[in-house]
Amino acid sequence: MTLTASILHWLAAVLLAPLLVGVINRTKAFFGGRRGQPFLQVYHDLFKLMGKGAVYSQTATWIFRFGPMLGLAVVLTALAIVPAGGLRALFVFPGDFVFLAYTLGLMRFFTVLAALDTGSAFEGMGASREMQFALLAEPVLFAGLAVLAAGSGQLSLSGIYNQLWSAGMRPEGAPVLLVALTLLMVLLAENARIPVDDPATHLELTMIHEVMVLDHCGVDLAFIQYGAALKLWLFAALVTGLAIPLRTGQPMVDLVVTIAGIFITAVVVGIVESTMARLRLVRVPQMLVASLALSLAAFFWILR
């Protein structure tokens, strides 16, 4: 039963992740007084892109084509070690959260290489920004996971998440919620959302993530966009598992609650995007450093 639920979570992510983007878009449309695009628009876009050919620069190397494929493969793998609430993930092993952080790092590494491969000034700028912010976002992710690992004495993500919100839980509630908050900030930064990046802009000079994929098209672009949706799901699952204090012990009920929580996270992201402007780029590191400070505060809290 638990294994079925674990498989179902992975399948739900694979199937529903684009819908998550649709939910964010509709939330933003609601705040703007618009009806907004259909929930399934992202699926239509992906299917359209899958049917298109691609144009490759004569000067681009194999890295340019390899980047999107690897990115998608990596994020699909990473999803298999992310637990849904208290449910075990598909794969569990000690230290798997380090594996998670660095599979995502690998994805970014190849996205950046593919961007640099084009030789475009825009993409170089985007790559530079992406790496600068990743440098600050990664410690936040690690510090947050370290809080949970140290508090629970567990070394796997599934072990950690299984302990949360159970009777006599370690770590206790407040630091966990603090970590959930910092992970939400990492989610915004890693998934190119406002206030860090604006996924809707067409202005190359202001973009971070989008500008790195300007030269990709067709199936490559579909892989990138689908990969981005999966990555959003991944972070939303991590946040939801921390923030929703419900562990029924019924795998199927937990699964449904988690998926509902993931969509609520998407609505929260949409609300954040609708109620504040983007930060000036030079302010983004300050936001990430602030979330690192919050993680460290949570860390000292559990050590006291």
Partner: protein, 504 residues
């Protein structure tokens, strides 16, 4: 400042015989312009034309003297090479580049002499050796291991006009931005020479598509001045109503776009819709959202009947309600102000020196507004307040737009309620021969200046258009110095300049 006695003074929309304009030696002309612009005068236009009889070129300086409410004119024969005015009068730099390009002449000592529109030389229409390919020219360069250049355009993402931007950067910091335009050059001024012909008014309407009313009003004033007539009060009021609708629509659209550029979505979405509502008000008057076909020399083609006035008032109330919901929402949001404040600063000294006009100049604290300084039409009777702000940053330009929207709504309501009765047209007599007239209009971007002179047969000997963008593009370049390159789209939108209005 008292301009030297050489200057001939005329009012806005006034014609004067060409022979009455004092012609002095070029050296005296140069000194007079430099002295006047160092005082309170603004250089509004610097047209050059070839009168034909002597074969030489003449240059006329058109100065606006806001404290006197008059325009100063001075003329001189233009030599092939002359000591540039620009080092002493930075406001002349774009004008001198224009003259050098159009006539194949050389202002010696001009700090950065290169084409602005890449148009063929008028004296050697074959082009000579000069490159006519837009964008192929020298650019500033910055040396150093970590410095880099970013070239943007002329093809942009989104639906905007073509222009080439070259950023000299060190990391994310911009040291200098060079703007190269000319991709939209259509030769309007040349097509106007020998006119007016029935097509002329359409050139004016599409000269800068978003400023249709502004440019056609200036053109109509010019023709009316040369014919010695004005339209009746009701016609003037309808022109002003159209002008204010244009101002509101564009300002609201820009406020929404500013919100979009900082990623503040609600205001972006609402303002985009409200702009459409205002454009539809213009369409209710004349059937075209940009006011094409409304204004003609000597008349307006569409009168406002009683029912329409009430309809417009009701729509105006709805617009006012919506816009006072959408815009303050943005201006009360700290994260938006954090983006706008301190971004893209142009000091008032710089704005004054380089001759900026309009919204951007008022945001830098300059009190320049044609409606107040050189009032024309119904603005002679009904006043439009001049809103300025200090700081010269994106926030200041945003505030000035917002205040002008509110002022225009009040003005519009007053005009609609107090619309004068009577006819809206007047029969125009033929234009006076060998005369010159200047028409200044406050378009929504700023001062629009049209200058034209007639020949012996009462045809245009030349027709000069100066769009506010012509004065302000260099201001945008200066605003970017020391800024983050990621803030460029925001600064660009806060200026909201016209490419085709500049390129003509």
């Amino acid at each position: 400042m008292a301009p030297s006695s050489d200057w001939v003074m005329i009012g806005n929309n006034e014609a004067i015989g060409l022979k009455a304009i004092a012609a002095v030696s070029f050296e005296r002309f140069r000194q007079a312009v430099i002295e006047a612009v160092a005082g309170e005068a603004r250089l509004s236009a610097l047209p050059v034309w070839s009168p034909g009889d002597s074969g030489g070129l003449r240059v006329i300086a058109v100065l606006s003297l806001p404290q006197r409410g008059e325009l100063g004119l001075l003329s001189a024969a233009l030599p092939d090479r002359w000591p540039s005015l620009t080092p002493h009068c930075p406001a002349a730099h774009w004008f001198e580049r224009e003259i050098a390009e159009q006539w194949g002449l050389t202002p010696e000592g001009h700090p950065w002499l290169k084409p602005i529109r890449f148009q063929p030389c008028r004296r050697h229409p074959d082009g000579g050796s000069r490159s006519a390919c837009a964008g192929l020219t020298d650019f500033f360069a910055m040396a150093g291991q970590e410095s880099h250049e970013v070239a943007v355009g002329p093809v942009h993402a989104g639906i905007i006009e073509p222009g080439h931007f070259r950023f000299l950067c060190h990391g994310e910091t911009v040291y200098h931005l060079e703007i190269s335009l000319g991709y939209q050059h259509r030769g309007i001024e040349r097509a106007m020479t020998g006119g007016p012909v029935p097509r002329s008014v359409h050139y004016m309407e599409t000269l800068a598509g978003d400023t249709t009313i502004g440019h056609v009003t200036a053109y109509s004033h010019l023709l009316e001045a040369l014919a010695g007539a004005t339209v009746p009060a009701r016609g003037k009021a309808i022109r002003a109503i159209a002008a204010e609708l244009e101002r509101i629509a564009n300002h609201v659209g820009d406020l929404g776009a500013l919100a979009g550029d900082v990623g503040f979505l609600p205001t972006r979405d609402y303002c985009g819709r409200i702009r459409g509502d205002v454009l539809n008000m213009t369409a209710a008057v004349c059937g075209n959202r940009f006011g094409r076909g409304l204004i003609r020399p000597g008349r307006v083609q569409w009168d406002l009947d009683g029912g329409l006035t009430e309809d417009l008032l009701a729509r105006l109330d709805a617009v006012e309600k919506d816009v006072t919901g959408a815009v303050p929402l943005m201006l009360d949001t700290p994260s938006v102000l954090a983006r706008l404040e301190g971004t893209g600063v142009v000091s008032s000294e710089t704005a004054r020196d380089i001759g900026m006009v309009g919204v951007a100049a008022r945001a830098s604290g300059l009190e320049c507004h044609v409606c107040a300084e050189f009032p024309y039409g119904i603005y002679r009777l009904a006043q439009l307040p001049v809103n300025t702000w200090t700081g010269g940053d994106c926030a200041a330009r945003t505030y000035v737009r917002w205040f002008e929207v509110q002022a225009s709504i009040d003005f519009l309501r007053h005009q609609l309620l107090e619309l004068p009765a009577g006819p809206v047209d007047r029969k125009l007599s033929p234009m006076a021969p060998e005369s010159l007239a200047v028409s200044l209009v406050e378009g929504w971007r700023g001062e629009i200046c049209h200058v034209a002179a007639t020949d012996r047969e009462s045809r245009f000997a030349f027709y000069k258009v100066v769009d506010p963008s012509f004065h302000n593009w260099f201001g945008l370049a200066l605003a970017l110095r020391g800024q983050q390159i990621s803030d460029f789209p925001l600064c660009n939108k806060s200026f909201s300049l016209s490419y085709c209005g500049h390129d003509l």
